[in-house]
Symmetry: C2
Subunit: 83 residues, 2 copies
């Protein structure tokens, strides 16, 4: 397996991983056990990966982190809504 | 700000972000709102970033993802313990 393929697999897994958390919050309408600080700091980190992707002009980095940022923002919004 | 510095900032934020979640679970002894699938899939993604780092021989990628993997594994263990 090439390092490129491993990188694509790693990025895809990290990005899609947040979907079950979103589904769980909206199903149970509860999010109190989630750390708002964790998801906020993580989102800021992903934001800087997104900026990094723009700076080094790497479209896969921009795309993966752009999608992750949207998904994590949904988790944060749901956390703020359901507490 | 150089792309290198932005990358270091991004990686550091994403790695340390899991510490407040660990603290929160151990303080409240509750983790039922956390999605086990999310943290498991995310951990597998981080594991492949770790392997990717070894393949491309980039020590910062190995280090950041190695630490993140340990922190996320603690979140998963705490989730399994406190439910």
């Amino acid at each position: 397996m090439s390092s490129f393929a491993v990188g694509i697999l790693a990025g895809t897994l990290c990005t899609i991983s947040f979907i079950p958390q979103i589904v769980k919050i909206f199903k149970t309408r509860q999010a109190k056990d989630l750390s708002l600080i964790t998801f906020s700091v993580f989102a800021s980190g992903v934001f800087f990966w997104f900026i990094y992707g723009i700076m080094i002009k790497e479209f896969p980095v921009i795309l993966a982190n752009g999608i992750t940022l949207v998904l994590v923002a949904i988790v944060i919004a749901a956390k703020l809504k359901f507490g």
